[in-house]
Symmetry: D2
Subunit: 358 residues, 4 copies
């Protein structure tokens, strides 16, 4: 396979390059950068070993333009580009190869809902119907046939993997209170004052709560679909209260979801539902006893899930769900490659890391 990476010099692009560099079924990589085209890849990314050059398409070790990349007839293109810019840059590839877009441009099929989240109409409304939402463990069968995959956001990935099966089984009632902690790489590699080391170390706090964060709408959309699949359409009973927090780690995401269980549902039921949903899926681990921590899955494509139940007053039973991912891997570049694997009929873990950091 021949793969293009658009946006090679950002964090998700750099990580895509590393994953594809050792992927056994990717024979050539074409690195694209609009701002640095013509420059050497090794200059743009000093962490790379010169051995990377053996795997780059014969471009003299340089970053190329989108047009040059398109001319090389790739099998798959990954777009690690800003929201609202991605669709336009991908233009030369639609219909010519598989497109995996890590931006939000194709994640929300309803144009009105998209506009509410992103402040303008979706850039290629005509393609929305063809895009498959690439939450790999949930939409596996659709991904196998997709030519346009909308890779999910990091918060939605970590929030939905534990929630989706439980909502679909009707085990949860009432609001979904989601509190998430994110590593700073989630904000990308832009030179902004509030992302400086001295501004972020020994500092933490919430930002963009509720509907002021665009991922709230992405999560709500999928929660509604799961709720509908449970035969309970409408979102009255599963409204998302989402609060993201920024914490001083480079990579890592921890999500705590607090909900009420439906009448009669116990921790045993929760475990059984989650284990059934992810049987045979190597990247989702249901922790038997431990609350997972972000380091467990650092630099892996895993999502580890734990939970805690306790009885409340008036026969209410509460559920605390804990999920952790690496925001750059399962929350971005890793899941993108997992989707490529699924789409091209490869084992889904091919080329992806499983063991977390020390």
């Amino acid at each position: 396979m021949k793969a293009v990476i658009c946006g090679t010099t950002g964090y998700t692009g750099m990580l895509l390059l590393r994953i594809l560099a050792t992927h056994p079924d990717v024979k050539a990589i074409i690195p694209v950068s609009s701002s640095k085209a013509g420059g050497k890849v090794l200059d743009a990314d000093p962490g790379l070993s010169p051995v990377i050059l053996e795997k780059l398409e014969k471009t003299d070790g340089c970053l190329v333009t989108v047009q040059e990349a398109a001319a090389l007839k790739p099998d798959v293109v990954f777009a690690a580009l800003p929201h609202l810019a991605s669709a336009a840059i991908l233009e030369p590839f639609f219909g010519r190869c598989v497109v995996i877009d890590l931006s939000a441009d194709f994640r929300i099929p309803d144009p009105a809902m998209f506009a509410k989240a992103y402040g303008q109409a979706p850039p290629r409304q005509d393609l929305l119907g063809k895009a498959v939402y690439g939450l790999a463990e949930i939409y596996t069968e659709d991904i196998k046939k997709a030519d346009l995959i909308a890779n999910p956001g990091c918060y939605p990935t970590a929030s939905l993997l534990p929630l989706f099966p439980l909502l679909k089984c009707g085990m949860i009632q009432g609001d979904l209170i989601i509190n998430a902690l994110s590593g700073i790489s989630g904000a990308g590699k832009k030179a902004a004052e509030n992302l400086l080391f001295c501004e972020r170390t020994e500092n933490a706090g919430a930002y963009s709560p509720g509907r002021t964060h665009r991922h709230t709408i992405e999560i709500q959309k999928e929660a509604d679909l799961a709720f509908a699949a449970a035969g309970k359409p409408g979102s009255g009973g599963a409204e998302v209260f989402f609060t993201p927090h920024l914490i001083p780690v480079k990579r890592g995401m921890s999500v705590t979801t607090t909900v009420n269980l439906a009448s009669g549902i116990t921790g045993t039921d929760v475990r059984a539902c989650l284990e059934a949903a992810y049987a045979g899926r190597v990247f989702v681990c249901i922790e038997p006893a431990r609350i997972p921590q972000t380091r467990d899955v650092w630099d892996t494509n895993r999502c580890d899930i734990g939970f805690h139940t306790e009885s409340g007053p008036g026969n209410k039973s509460r559920l605390f769900l804990f999920s952790v991912i690496d925001n750059l891997v399962k929350g971005a570049s890793g899941q993108a490659v997992q989707n490529m694997n699924i789409r091209f009929g490869l084992p889904e873990a091919t080329g992806l890391s499983l063991h977390g950091a020390l």
Copy 2:
């Protein structure tokens, strides 16, 4: 004033020493350590300047025993000691000087509730009725007359300062979903594998959720009192769902509380209630527009409070409350000194820091 610090070599003891060292009304400090008595203070704490010696009671610059300290007839004693050990060590001081206990031993007046949280009966049940809960801005009048002050836990302090007035005014209904992030100094200075730099850097996650954390009961107790003061006794409508998280900062605590507003209550009402509750109180700042971050209050005795409201489906209105403190200052040693100031008729900010870190 002459002040004793019991537990001088832990983080809260070390910080008490620093605050009292520059406190204009404290003329002498007597540093106690059971494990290091006889050793030099400057050896135990290399961050101290030798000028500290001028303010230490004439003990040759050494740490002393509890008995030696008691013989020096202090005006006030601070206990920065482990839960369940503190009351016994304080024995020589009860009735002889003002006691400010930073442990949980006197925080929960109901023995059954204490036993539920701490696994045994309260160590000095006879004194529980005399202890005042030292949430400084809430119980100011009681603190003025108290000879035994139970300094609150860090999570309860940060959670309750925004919640208490709103509950008391009847502005909140339904469960109190509290998610908190804590710096690692909250776990103290014990040599435990899970507190090593290499185990905590680039790592975050929840721990001890719900009633498995003892502060849940401390928060619930005060929430019930506020609810009762609102004329709505019983906790049916304000049940605490608490989840603490550990994040890789040394100092800092951020609390996000997600609740539903009572019918008809708006953001304007919330602001008015909070501003009225803390008018004239220099350590509680209601942020007009910004979500406070832990760095804003690093090394200060402040609690900064922000909030966000939005309408939900079915006429529900949601409230997100954000509060930040330095867990070692307002969450421990700083509030202890604030309580001393209040008890001894000094301006409450005497000797305490107001401006946060860079």
Copy 3:
């Protein structure tokens, strides 16, 4: 006293504001910012408590221009501005009040040497002869009479405090090999990609070695003066090899200097020389046995000094000197206020912090 801060919104300016806010002899502060004049101080710096407003000159809580500040007839002005820009901005103050310049514009009296380091002629060559180099413990007597004080660089401060007395006493021979580690705040608060949290955490290394760093020349100049004072003019025997390193801390500087001792000099001599040089100076502590660490002096104006000697082959004796400072305090804003104290006849420690962080 009435004090102006030029460059209030950078890290050294922000720290000057905090120090002066609690300085008992400073009655009014006038905060200047060229880029943010007219904006509220509290908006520019969310760490400040509103109590700061009581100490700001009546400017409605706003940042003002240089011209507005000059019209308010200050007693002292601090310039926390970039090199080569500072002298011009200070124009309205020269000859009208005491000027303490934290930039390099007046640090190097020899124009040719300045040009070698900064790539152009010194901006106000005519004033070079009047400027006193503000290494506070070394040039105390000159500072008392100075109207223009060139506050030293952070690396020179930490390097020279241990070296200067030893060179002056003729105790060192041969090259001065200086390796320094600096916190990232030393690079200022500019939004540059290489200063992002994700670029600096879990990352360290040397930069600008030898004469490619401008502080090499500043250190060499003072080493030559000390050598000359020892009756050994010329620099042949004390050539500076300087290598700075950037490490992932916000604040802190550690300097290790490796030299050969002059024939017959022992560790006892070294200690005696350093103790004599700094007798009665509260901010320089000679550690008897311990190698000082940056945290010991975090947020203080101290410089802690330790050393190690061992015999080498051929009767050579080696000396390892260790010095630590907080780069923003003793390395910048704190030493600036110390210089103000000395200049205005106040105790040198007035308003400055002595006890290090936990």
Copy 4:
């Protein structure tokens, strides 16, 4: 191949497990732990994915004892054990399989020199003559035939890779001034107060300078050998002045070596010498223009080398050498696997990582 890891639960053992888990030529891993034998590997190391179980020798997913491991007839054993304890624990393996010892027990062939560094006689003096010092790029030919490989220390690896060829070519004269920065994982996973997160974050400084650090002797030994190979036996002209520093990173080592060049030697000569020495060696990269940073090689087995030259007074030319490694990989577990690869005739990079962290 079947591989044993002794000391599986320390940082180097955990990393060996991860590397061997994906090594294509290692078919079975036998994890040994003296303290946790009988416990599940997945409980001891929550970062592991359950897929690791497929590669563990059939021990029910448990850690085993040394005796159990020896009975399984491994081809190679790695010892990630404390100095002075390692040789004894390895007893059952000597003469029965290839032994790669990551401790210092076999690194110093001269018993007197060993005793000077480690305070006692080498534990298996009889085997010293058979052990090969596993500095992989320098002693490749010896390693191919060795049955006992003494894996070098992290500081010696990073210091010697740039120095050895230059010394051997006679390009350096005078003392070797080596200043090194190390990540905290170098101190291992022991629960010690000075390794706590709160003690190490925002903290840095030197420790164990000169001959008080045992690696000084290990470096000096190799420097003497290189000097002797240059036809200049004796160490008079290449005496090691070594100062290690601890900095707040988990993994990473940066070494700055400051020396004088031999008469007439230029930067061009230095480059040519280093490039010739490491031609064809994938893990040593000579940086053309950039000073390498630790992040470039994070989680890789690379050593990146940069340098800077400048002329000094009196026709002296100075050389600043910069080398970076990941202390746990090239400084420990990675080089151990590289040595295994060389010993068993595999390509030296098999199973080892080349591209650094983002």
